[in-house]
Symmetry: C2
Subunit: 219 residues, 2 copies
Amino acid sequence: MRLIVADCTVNYRGRLDAHLPRAHRLIMIKADGCVAIHSDGGAYKPMNWMTSPNILVEEDDSLRVTNNDDELLEISIHCRISDTNYDFGDEPSLQKDGVEAHLQELLAINPQEIQEGLVLVKKEYYTDIGPVDLLCQDPTGEYVAVEIKRRGEIDGVEQLTRYLEFIGKDPDHSPVRGIFVAQIIKPQAKVLAESRGIAAIEVDYDHLRGLRRPQLSLF
Amino acid sequence: MRLIVADCTVNYRGRLDAHLPRAHRLIMIKADGCVAIHSDGGAYKPMNWMTSPNILVEEDDSLRVTNNDDELLEISIHCRISDTNYDFGDEPSLQKDGVEAHLQELLAINPQEIQEGLVLVKKEYYTDIGPVDLLCQDPTGEYVAVEIKRRGEIDGVEQLTRYLEFIGKDPDHSPVRGIFVAQIIKPQAKVLAESRGIAAIEVDYDHLRGLRRPQLSLF
DNA sequence: AGGTGTATGTCGCAT
DNA sequence: ATGCGACGTACACCT
């Protein structure tokens, strides 16, 4: 990783045009070639950048970065304050846990936690318009499309509505009803869902995590 | 801006749990207090971070960053390779051109560029479910809701559909039809829009920028 | 504080 | 390559 601290002016031309007037900034060039320009405030994200792959042409007083989408990042360096290079070696992989995927797994194993009697037919059921999180059947044999979110908002209801519209046209899986599942569901999303005949159900992640395997039926 | 290059281990606990095994990385602490941990590859964005405002507690061999949402970023420093601090002074503001807001302004001045005879009623017409980009009227007096995107995709059509549904219920602005405007509209979005009776119209930003004022009518 | 929309969103996965 | 959904999305702006 190369870190250049410099007094510089920056222009970007591509998906939009952007101009950074002259000031002191950090220019970060990573091993994969991506370039980012950070100011000292505002946000953790850079003010300007160019992702990899790209072509970097360096001169004494400038860096010109281009990619194959005709985007251009041009850095004029008025004064170089520092310019250091570090070898970081290998990066061991980042480990993450606890996102929607996990919630989906837990509910796939325990669909009865969504609604009494639900049985899983297919996890990640791929339709032409996108994947349905869980396709289930209820005790009457009716199909149930389940959309799972960490936080339930309006766009999730829209998404499930599209799936229901699509699956409803498929005679093999029709009739079908929808259930919108999330840890927390916003009032608007709840209203929209119910106005469309979609059940909105909140589930507790910690409770689900406690269930290692399907609950044994008492009957 | 403070830049620490160090051999470190990182843990984040909050909206998810994440763990970064021991390796060499850059720790960036900006003037506003936000903290970001960058590896040397992958992307311009940090592997882990904590936005401002937060509370940073520093010890010889660790940084502990917490915020008021009970999120925790914990950096154990095994070996400090460098630790430097820079004063960047003021950051003059970033200037951007070509974002949706500009497209919206240009079309608000020249609604006839969307469709012959359109007249602007209100820019950013706020409804209870969100702002409609442009509310216009056509020569017959019918209301026209215009949704503007840089790139036209399905979610934009959904958005406009919600607005139309809502405005349609308002006797003062009913009947209403919709127009979906973008520089480029994806085929699926075009199909979805037209299946809902919404016109999908592509406009040229550079052409619009050339029109400083409304075109004079020839008639 | 909460809701909604934008972003040079980025990223990953399936088709 | 394109389509689609998730993201610790972050962020600005309006009610």
